[in-house]
Subunit: 404 residues, 2 copies
């Protein structure tokens, strides 16, 4: 089938594009390179060097004989979106093209507004373009498990049956997102659900957990096909940070008690889930939600797993949590719909962690430890970014001296 991957230059968009291409689909990628721009803004880099998109696509063709079409442009530009959909004529659109960092959205007013406008308007434009160009196009949208927050009841997949004062209805699952970024995804979800209702569009909202891993069967075919590995305080995810800290001989920094529990999944499962969603499209008018994760871990558990997997010695230190979130909470979330479609998960084990640690070791000379510092505080309305190598914040320095 013809699949357009929006955000196809990013951490997940790129390996998803390769995977779908390798599986025989006709693939186009759309990107405005905003993710690369954030690196300039933050003064950081992916630990694993990445090549220009145009070069990557050329290498992919050399390696596989398969072509991927590139569309450079911004989803907030409505005519560009419309034109791209007309030209590529996709059967499915996989939509990764959003600002995806919670801390980035919490830097200050400008970054919060940017995140919500970029994500919400991009998706709105996409909905209009699909309705206009071809309402049959299946929109596979990346949401996040973070939309749900941590309610004291089981999390279901998008909808929940509620019996109240003797009557019953199935309603959208109540959302308690924890950042302006997560909020933007909740806004998107509501907008998409509505577009399916009024225009008969079909959409699958993949409420994804935290993804770990950097290598996929396709990216390892050539070094220039590598995808990003982010470990900095703004775009890095927790497992990457722990691996970098272990290899760099720095204590693993757990925020708060580390009891915060989240759904997670292997990058290879992301590829499989996205293809499963495409191959089994929603019905016309249907808005459905799949919770896309395979296991739940607390932050403390993850830190301990990295300490165990690391060949050297590593310690754990607890820092004040820059976020506003529960440290100890109930967490049980359904995730059966993708399993029902045939997903066979890669579970997190010492082998996965060893592979991740070896990625870090291969690139340890590129580690900027200062970049890991949690510079963005949820309770502050204007965080000062200190990600340039020369500057260190006091709290970070304190954490380092109080390691013992």
């Amino acid at each position: 089938m013809r699949i357009l991957v929006l955000g196809g230059d990013g951490y997940l968009g790129w390996p998803v594009a390769l995977h779908l291409s390798g599986r025989g689909h006709e693939v186009g990628v759309v990107d405005n390179f905003a993710r690369r721009q954030y690196d300039f803004e933050m003064g950081v880099d992916s630990l694993v060097p990445i090549k220009h998109l145009q070069h990557r696509v050329r290498v992919w063709e050399e390696v596989s004989g398969l072509r991927i079409t590139i569309y450079v442009g911004d989803l907030t530009n409505a005519p560009f979106v419309h034109r791209t959909l007309e030209e590529f004529a996709p059967d499915a659109i996989v939509h990764f093209a959003e600002q995806r960092s919670a801390p980035y959205s919490m830097i200050d007013q400008q970054h919060a507004v940017y995140t919500q406008v970029n994500n919400v308007v991009g998706t709105l434009n996409l909905l209009y373009a699909i309705a206009d160009v071809n309402p049959e196009i299946h929109l596979v949208k990346l949401g996040t498990m973070g939309e749900y927050g941590t309610p004291n009841i089981d999390i279901e997949e998008g909808f929940i049956e509620i019996t109240h004062r003797g009557r019953t209805d199935v309603l959208p699952y109540p959302k308690q997102p924890g950042s302006f970024y997560h909020l933007s995804k909740v806004h998107d979800s509501h907008n998409i659900m509505f577009a399916c209702r009024i225009w008969g569009l079909r959409s699958t909202d993949l409420n994804q957990g935290i993804v770990y891993g950097q290598e996929t069967p396709e990216t390892v075919l050539h070094p220039d096909l590598a995808t990003r590995f982010d470990y900095d305080g703004v775009f890095g995810t927790v497992l990457n940070r722990f691996c970098v800290q272990a290899v760099a001989g720095h204590p693993l920094t757990v925020y708060g008690t580390g009891g915060q529990t989240r759904g997670m999944l292997d990058i290879r499962d992301t590829l499989a889930c996205v293809e499963l969603a495409c191959l089994h499209p929603a019905e016309p008018g249907e808005y459905r939600v799949f919770n896309q994760f395979t296991e739940s871990f607390s932050v403390q558990q993850l830190a301990e797993m990295v300490v165990d997997a690391y060949s050297g010695t590593a310690e754990i230190v607890h820092l004040d949590n820059p976020r506003v979130e529960e440290h100890e909470h109930y967490y049980r979330a359904a995730h059966t719909k993708l399993l029902d479609l045939g997903l066979v998960p890669h579970l997190l084990n010492s082998r996965t962690l060893t592979s991740l640690l070896s990625v870090v070791e291969r690139h340890r000379d590129r580690v900027q430890l200062e970049a890991i510092e949690p510079t963005v505080a949820w309770r502050s309305t204007a965080s000062v970014l200190r990600t340039s190598g020369a500057v260190r914040s006091e709290s970070w320095a304190e954490a380092e001296t109080s390691d013992a």
Copy 2:
């Protein structure tokens, strides 16, 4: 107390500002005159002529001896918002400053994006400015009963206790809004709830029903103090439309079966509710929701009430519904919190309707019947506006000929 009314030039913002001023509060109003701009865009006018804001404020001072400060500017301009809050130093902010028409938001992509960006960014900027200038400021935000949609269970005030698989939590009430405008209010609600959580802000979200009425104890003190009366297909509300149609000798146009049921309230109750919310502020960190309506009516009931109240003869005709909504549905919504604070409702009766009809009769020479036509169709992604007097759509003409 010092109260800043955002959108203080609008249908409700203006009479609320007068009311609060008359009740002894120090009042400032903020407006960018977007509402007046929509009139130019649509080629329509308020049935009751309205004066410039500056003139109205001068007349108010002549009549009452009370001053109202004007701030002209746009909430999407963050420095303007910050400066205005610093300068006026409010205890409470009443926030009406949003694009408030569902059909306007459904015209096309541009109007949908405008509505969501204008409303969401304006409110985000406001939240940041409150957090920065003075987190004690109580934000009284106008939401809408339309955020809830029409679930098959009772609607509660903002939150609902859910028992699920043996566990219980109180969660945000699930929302099923019915237009990109209503969606923008849901987005706002989520953003405000989050800001209260992370910054300890205090906010009351008034989920208001459909307001009817044009005269308040303050606006009748001088003809130049009048507020708007909108009856056009884009900004007019259903009861106003019926009154205009009756007086103009046109059948009352009910969309679909008319079984659509909505919460409603008298404009004088809006004034009272807003002041009650200000006088009984939310606690620091508290986000609370009041359902602000006093009675529920179906569209068919409203049409019949107008027919009964009108001194002449009036007929009812059913048109295809331009919206996508249930025509027959369960509707029962809690609205006790404002009553608990002391609200004494003005209920809709023949006297209210007679007064509304007499407003229309005084201005019947200004009626543009063509403007009532429902030009915006929910299922279309690009409605052609035909509100200029010379142009009529076919469906409207058909409805007129099929009246008998």
